[in-house]
Amino acid sequence: MSDIGRGMIDFARQFMPALEAAADTVRIGGRLSGRRVGIALTLEPKTACLVEAVASLGAEVAVFGSGHSTKGEVVEALVAGGISVFAEVGATPERVVELRDRFIDTRPEFLCDDGATVARRIHGVRRDVLDDLRGVAEETTSGVRPLRLMEADGSLMVPCVAVNDARTKLLFDNVYGTGQSVVMATLDATNLQMSGKVVVVVGYGKVGKGIASVARGLGARVIVTEIEPVAALQAYHEGLQVRPLAEAVAEADFVFTATGIGHSLTAHHVTQMKDGAVIAVGGAGRPEFDPTAGPHLVEGDEVRPQVRALTAPNGNTVFVVADGYCVNTTAGEGNPIEIMDLSLALQLRALDHLAGGDLAPGIHLLPRQIEDEVAMTQLASAGIRIDQPTEDQIRAARTW
């Protein structure tokens, strides 16, 4: 089985030129050599490439992964390569907490976090390791949000790089990566057709934009629901229908949530849906779709792998993909490799940036130069060249 994992990791690396370039850059400074680095990202082949890149720089790496998105063959391949892995396929939520604490026991100095789950725990009940923690690189919108709240109320004790907010991440990973992988994972799980369908996208942030664009590209009619007027106005300018959620769900063949916020879609909405509608979560996972809020829904069988029936009191049945976890990482392999090439290259540069040592506790953005360098490496590998500004242009841009 580790052979399968090995093959998948090596295949992914073939399509990750930006990560390779980032490792070459970081290696020159040598700042991660001998450091304890914890990586708590979705544990699959692309993340494994980051893990191996960090290990190749001389760091001691520990890896944590959740129960529902961890790929067993990748764990085996990493363990075979001598990496400490705290992840088990299908681990219960209680077991995941145990594994996370054992991961925290390795006392990471630098941490790649996802959803700030580890950083929050260290700032909460695991303050015993807080002194060792020198910096956090956060991958997602849903992790940057609580970190900013922690910063605002004075509880954040370490510097955090909002990798998520880098343009080279946010404009690609969240839009194209999640858009493609969420829609495709849902179609893979259901074997259904997209053209001609009514697709409701709940939330028109970066992820919602990506999902709406892919669904529309595949021939669906997209309805966007929003609570934020500027985002709604963007959807309107994109030529999409914008309507209140309670109305929109009544027409939906597919509902994708992309809010990153709990309780965005509930059992109340399910009672409004057509028989046979499909629900998939593209944002933060549970409880973004909360089947417990509202009338009692009867949970039925798994009608096919990753598809479960939920029946409303009116007798209508809807189908939830991946039990309401993030559908692309749970029912699929997560974001495409080339997308994670960008995001993970930024993670690596962020770790190095944090290891530079002079950042104060709080949220930091990656310097623009690092964003640009990472973008340039992927452009170059695609054989794409761009223009340099002329002296006249530079002068004009600086004149008022």
Binding site: I4, G7, M8, D10, F11, A12, Q14, F15, P45, K46, Y176, G177, Q180, M184, L187, D188, N191, L192, Q193, M194, S195, G196, V214, R216, G217, L218, G219, G276, D301, V303, R304, V307, G332, E333, G334, P336, I337, E338, I339, A382
Partner: protein, 427 residues
């Protein structure tokens, strides 16, 4: 059931439960087959008639077989490709009393003998895919071939084969070109194969589509569908054609058009959709860009000449499930999906269910027509009226109802010509 089990050759009957669930899911999304078609077939025309179904054997096909069996037909099933059968679905069909001869990844020899086992049940009617069963009966069971009641054919490739047989004076029975029905090729070949081919490639490789240079060899219905989806999903479709009109159509659709060698040199992804053989062969390997991914969306497993690829490679290994790496000259890697078999079925779940609801409704009605009417030998088009009825049923299942045309809306020559005078040819 035990009769069917005794006569069948399948992998493992105990796999049936997930097969039943898969067929039930297919039924749920097949309103035309489960409604309109069931109703039309309820006239006992198919009762007791032996119908062979030789189509990629998965849940949608199994639901077609179920509908035919429920209409009283004695249904016998084999897969139309040795790679694509779903064993759990085959088992569920046997539990439903249908005789099945098929298993996934059987050898070519085993697959051939499965087809012959179906032939030896002496079917009157065949629902065929690629005319695979029909041509074998023609070759190996001439007595049976002379007395076949009719064939309804699923694919472009199969219809072309039947027309070849007809031209050679070797088609002694009526055949219906189900593929050529509007409700089939306008949807199945274009949207069905388009969506599911890209879906399977992305699933198997975990690669990104936006920005990718996707070479599509062949701009028939399948190529059109793939190119359209590639374009809308942010890829760059580069079309290769030998037919100037199709090439001009691709150009006018906004795609790049190039000859094969130039296209291959810049390819991230290469998809064959010609319906022929060896669209990519030995003479092209040196032109393929390093790390390109090759996949086939056409009927034949040899649209990409895999034996030639094997002969040209120094190293061959499976790097992900269904993804084989070939190291060619100068250690250039290229990746082949699903061994060159139809990638959407061998590497995915096949067409979306709603698409096959249309295609199989055409097939079922074609089969019913063959049983009901005594059509003369030769290739027949699917009746336009049935096509319209199927489309109407599909629309109604989506709660879409059309306006009738009013008399006043018709264009007539009234006011320009007086046709009632007739006769002399003068205005």
């Amino acid at each position: 059931m035990s009769d069917a089990a005794d006569r069948s050759r399948i992998a493992d009957i105990s796999l049936a439960p997930s097969g039943h669930r898969a067929i039930e899911w297919a039924r749920r999304h097949s309103p035309v087959l489960d409604g309109f078609v069931r109703h039309r077939l309820d006239d006992d025309v198919l009762r007791g008639r032996r119908v062979a179904v030789v189509v990629h054997l998965e849940a949608k096909t199994a639901f077609l077989a179920t509908v035919l069996a429920d209409a009283g037909a004695e249904v016998v099933v084999a897969g139309s490709n040795p790679w694509t059968t779903r064993d759990d679905v085959a088992s569920a069909l046997v539990e439903r009393g249908v005789e099945v001869h098929s298993s996934r990844r059987s050898s070519l020899d085993q697959w051939e003998s499965d087809l012959m086992a179906v032939a030896d049940t002496e079917p009157e009617l065949i629902i065929d895919d690629g005319a695979e069963l029909t041509v074998r009966i023609s070759r190996d069971r001439p007595q049976l071939y002379a007395h076949l009641g009719g064939v309804s054919e699923e694919t472009t490739t199969g219809v072309a084969r039947l027309r070849q047989l007809e031209a050679a004076g070797r088609l002694p029975m009526p055949a219906i070109a189900a593929n050529d029905a509007a409700c089939k090729h306008l949807f199945d070949n274009r949207y069905g194969t388009g969506q599911s081919t890209l879906q399977a490639i992305l699933h198997m490789t975990n690669l990104r589509l936006p920005g990718k240079r996707v070479v599509i060899v062949g701009y028939g219905w399948v190529g059109r569908g793939i190119a359209g989806y590639v374009h809308h999903l942010g890829g760059r479709a580069i079309v290769v054609e030998i037919d100037p009109i199709k090439a001009l159509e691709a150009h006018t659709d906004g795609h790049e058009v190039a000859n094969l060698r130039d296209a291959l040199a810049g390819a991230d992804l290469v998809i064959t959709a010609t319906g022929g053989m060896r669209a990519i062969g030995r003479s092209h390997f040196d032109a393929i860009a390093p790390s390109a991914v090759l996949a086939n969306a056409g009927h034949h497993d040899l649209e990409i000449d895999v034996p030639a690829l094997e002969a040209a490679a120094s190293v061959i290994d499976e790097v992900r499930p269904g993804v084989t790496r070939y190291l060619l000259e100068e250690a250039k890697p290229v990746y082949l999906l699903s061994g060159g078999a139809l990638v959407n079925i061998a590497g995915g779940l096949g067409h979306p269910i709603e698409i096959m609801d249309l295609s199989f409704s055409v097939q079922a009605m074609g089969c019913h027509l063959l049983a009901k009417e005594s059509l003369p030998p030769g290739v027949h088009l699917f009746p336009a009226e049935l096509d319209r009825e199927i489309a109407t049923a599909k629309l109604e299942s989506r709660k879409i109802f059309l306006d009738p045309m009013e008399t006043a809306q018709q264009d007539t020559l009234h006011g320009i010509l007086d046709l009632s005078q007739g006769g002399d040819g003068h205005v």
